[in-house]
């Protein structure tokens, strides 16, 4: 019998016995669909982990971020706050850096030195609002892979890469709700409520609100923003008064604000050109990443640029200085426990080269907080909180250590120390001993990571690896196993399905076989008839399964991506602050290799295993045809 006619017969049977044929077609459809779906999504997840995670993490796994702050801050915690808590005494210093560099397999190490400029704002992040950028640190370009997968080199004349921190992306505004005065009464706190609820109530009553920036990470990364450094913030638009049971905030009138502005101008004009010092310096940045982990509160800029920025910032302030010498008396009026020119200074001091602005205090958030190493010039002792200003170039030495040439501490609260000079040029920053609460270490090879971690611990540097890469290795190995198990199951199941259903067809077709044999069909004809049927039905199932499988891969791409991103968040992001983003496109990929393997397997299996029922069919005696049962 011609093969074409055999196929024609099977097509006609398929048409008439559609329901029966589904016994073979549906399982094969499901098997193929599942095969394509699972193998494709496994491959997609594996390639996503390789490209998006291991691609990043492989580089990142050579990096270790040591942090002297071992307590993770909660959302909203800021660098300054953390530093106050631990007093800055455990910061890493040059000596620590040298120690770390002696560890075998450490390729390089660098301190992430905080940029001692606290007034940094951008008007490009929220429309109509200025977002202050806090906790800026210099980051060695070669070690930036831990935080970004983008280029982080500083090229003069081009926008400077910056890695923003989601924890500090917030803006503040005043909301007096039509009132002129707001009293916060702490005695109203009620015991039966939780502390959180009490704080929430106080916050909602305050006329100062903080709103987290609503941003799309994908949109933000790559965008160019302008950030202004230094200058003077607007003068405080309110005054506050302690009432005994709480604080009273009173809105200032336009006249009062103008008076405050004039007082500030007068105080500053004594040593600086007020108009000049008021102007910030600004630079264009390109966002190279957004850190979203709640264990890191820093914003990073290239180290090379950070040095340049600080020097330009100091220079800008020094340029605004007039020739008036800052007197020891003025210094003495704000510092205690410190000495200058052999005289003990009074008052409380800031720690960094300072910007101008009000020192801390309740109302400080509306002003530029002075964390500057500077002298705070007291304008009016009665309103100290509002009206003290720092002097740039003032160098305070604290806890001088052996080997330190000059001390330059990024210390916010220094209760003791020695003011060793007021620098007249930017070399103050270069000569300063830089410290940081974080240190980045690059290992020459991922395999040596655990040994380096051990050596760090032995040297007293606390660090614990979270072994995230192992989690991913496990995921990959699980997925590889899934694919292997799936392929083996595919072979076994498809073989069983074909043998069983075709066996059933043969049993139900004994009469038909007998008639064919009686009217002259050979055993070979019968064998071909059933093998062709098995292959044809299998191929139909294959086509449906392949189409459905591809469709399902596309349909579940988004949920798989969401799961995958969640998985990354829960694992790798705890150690590696930045991972490459995955796009939905990553999960729409079809594993054509496995597709081809399943196709070939299915055809081979259908051809091979259908021999079993087909041989059984060919052995049906023609006597069956005329048995009258």
């Amino acid at each position: 019998m011609k093969f074409s006619y055999i196929n024609k017969i099977n097509l006609k049977k398929l048409k008439l016995y559609r329901g029966k044929s589904l016994f073979l077609i549906i399982p094969i459809t499901l098997l193929m669909m599942l095969g394509i779906l699972v193998s494709s999504q496994s491959a997609n997840i594996i390639s996503a982990s390789e490209e998006a995670i291991l691609g990043t993490a492989k580089e990142q796994s050579r990096l270790i971020e040591l942090s002297s702050v071992q307590t993770a801050g909660g959302p909203g915690a800021n660098e300054g706050f953390m530093r106050i808590i631990r007093g800055g005494s455990s910061d890493y210093k040059a000596g620590d850096l040298e120690t770390v560099k002696t560890i075998n397999n450490v390729e390089s190490a660098s301190l992430n030195v905080a940029v001692p400029i606290d007034l940094a704002v951008s008007g490009d992040l929220a429309s109509g609002m200025e977002v202050s950028i806090g906790g800026i640190k210099g980051l060695n370009e070669n070690l930036a892979a831990l935080y970004t997968d983008q280029d982080f080199d500083y090229v003069e004349g081009e926008p400077i890469p910056i890695i923003l921190n989601a924890n500090s992306l917030a803006y503040q505004f005043e909301d007096w709700q039509g009132r002129d005065e707001v009293t916060i009464d702490f005695t109203q706190a009620r015991g039966q409520r939780g502390m959180g609820e009490n704080i929430e109530e106080v916050q909602s009553s305050l006329p100062f609100k903080t709103e987290a920036l609503d941003y799309e990470k994908d949109d933000l990364v790559g965008s160019v923003i302008t950030i202004e450094f230094g200058g003077l913030a607007d003068v405080q638009t309110f005054e506050q008064e302690f009432t005994g049971s709480g604080i009273l905030f009173r809105k200032l009138t336009d006249e009062q604000i103008q008076t405050a502005e004039n007082e500030r101008a007068e105080a500053i004009d004594k040593y600086w050109d007020y108009e000049k010092i008021k102007e910030p310096i600004s630079y264009q940045f390109v966002v190279a990443g957004v850190l979203e982990a709640d264990t890191n509160f820093s914003t990073y800029i290239p180290e090379q640029f950070a040095n340049k920025l600080v020097k330009e910032y100091i220079q800008n302030q020094l340029d605004a200085r007039n020739d008036t010498t800052i007197t020891t008396d003025d210094l003495n009026s704000v510092y205690t426990g410190m000495t200058f020119d052999g005289l003990e200074l009074g008052g409380s001091g800031g720690g960094t080269i300072g910007g101008f602005g009000a020192v801390g205090g309740v109302g400080g958030m509306m002003r530029a907080p002075a964390t500057g190493a500077g002298l705070n010039v007291e304008v009016d002792a009665a309103e100290e909180l509002q009206d003290t200003y720092a002097i740039p170039g003032l160098v305070i030495e604290t806890e001088r250590e052996e080997g330190d040439t000059d001390a330059f501490r990024s210390q916010m609260l220094g209760s003791s120390g020695e003011v060793i000079g007021i620098y007249e040029n930017t070399s103050v920053y270069e000569e300063a001993v830089k410290t940081s609460d974080t240190m980045l270490i690059k290992i020459n090879n991922t395999e040596n990571r655990s040994q380096v971690v051990k050596d760090l611990n032995d040297l007293g540097f606390a660090y614990q690896d979270l072994n995230d890469l192992e989690v991913f290795a496990e995921l990959q190995s699980t997925l590889n196993n899934v694919t292997t198990v799936l392929t083996i199951s595919f072979i076994i199941l498809s073989a069983i399905i074909i043998v069983l259903t075709m066996g059933k067809f043969v049993s139900e077709s004994k009469k038909e076989i007998g008639v064919f044999r009686a009217i002259g069909a050979t055993k070979r004809d019968i064998k071909q008839l059933f093998m062709s049927q098995a292959i044809m039905y299998t191929l139909i199932g294959y086509l449906f399964g392949a189409a459905l499988g591809i469709l399902l891969v596309l349909l579940i791409a988004k949920p798989v991506q969401l799961w995958f991103d969640g998985f990354i968040k829960n694992t790798i992001e705890e150690t590696f602050a930045v991972v490459q983003n995955t796009s939905a496109g990553t999960f729409t990929g079809i594993d054509w290799q496995m597709f081809g393997i399943y196709t070939a397997l299915l055809i081979v299996i259908a051809a091979v295993v259908s021999i079993i029922p087909a041989t059984r069919a060919s052995n049906v005696s023609p006597v069956q045809a005329i048995s009258n049962e």
Binding site: V515, F516, I519, G520, T522, I626
Partner: protein, 227 residues
């Protein structure tokens, strides 16, 4: 004249548990070419077993069958299939048409098996259906036909490859009187055209239609007759 069927001492035994039963026991038949025979017997007389042996559907336990001068015992399964396809046409009690094929396709099937191209096969199938009075049913599937019509399609199929002999196993056993009569007339026509007809029946009345009659009882020849 040569014999279309020549059987000598045909015996077919079946193992039934521990006992062995003879369905056909030492039967010898000769049927000259172009002549017809009715094999008559009650249920269990062995008449269908005899048809299977004579039609090359089964091998005898002992004895020998010659059909159209060929010893069926000497043919292997493949050769036997080709022989059946070319030389013998079968008509069964339950028609045994393929319900997924039309009347034309059913009739063409033995020709297709023989390797003829489907166009030639369909043309001849249409002619054969016309001969059995079913030219209006050419493209109908068996489900749309009456029993009589189905049996006539089966007869047309039996004639497809111009066989020397038609072997019919109770062809009217499943038909009403009118249809049975019609089918028998068709078979008579075939017999008249020179094709031998071997009719298996339990109906004694039929003996008069055929030149040769063989009565079987419990596998043995009870009576042989020639008109």
């Amino acid at each position: 004249m040569a014999n279309i069927i020549e059987a000598k001492g045909l015996t077919r035994k079946y193992q039934d548990g521990d006992s062995i039963t003879s369905a056909v026991n030492n039967v010898s038949i000769s049927l000259p070419e172009g002549e017809s025979i009715a094999i008559i017997g009650t249920s269990g007389s062995g008449k269908t077993t005899l048809l299977q042996l004579l039609g090359g559907l089964d091998y005898p336990t002992s004895g020998e069958v010659f059909v159209d001068g060929k010893s069926l015992n000497s043919l292997n399964d493949n050769e036997l299939s080709h022989f059946r396809n070319k030389t013998i046409g079968f008509v069964f009690q339950f028609f045994h048409l393929q319900d997924y094929l039309t009347a034309k396709e059913n009739v063409a099937l033995p020709m297709i098996i023989a390797g003829k191209d489907s166009e030639t096969a369909y043309l001849r199938a249409e002619k054969l259906l016309e001969q059995v009075g079913l030219s209006h049913r050419v493209n109908h599937t068996p489900k749309k036909m009456s029993g009589g019509e189905m049996q006539r399609v089966a007869i047309a199929r039996a004639l497809a490859n111009e066989p020397k002999i038609i072997m019919a196993d109770e062809p009217t056993g499943n038909l009403d009187k009118a249809n049975a009569k019609n089918v028998l007339e068709v078979l008579d026509h075939i017999a008249e055209s020179g094709v031998s007809v071997l009719m298996i029946t339990h109906d004694e009345q039929m003996s008069h239609r055929y030149q040769h009659v063989l009565h079987l009882d419990k596998g043995n020849i009870k009576q042989k007759g020639v008109k």
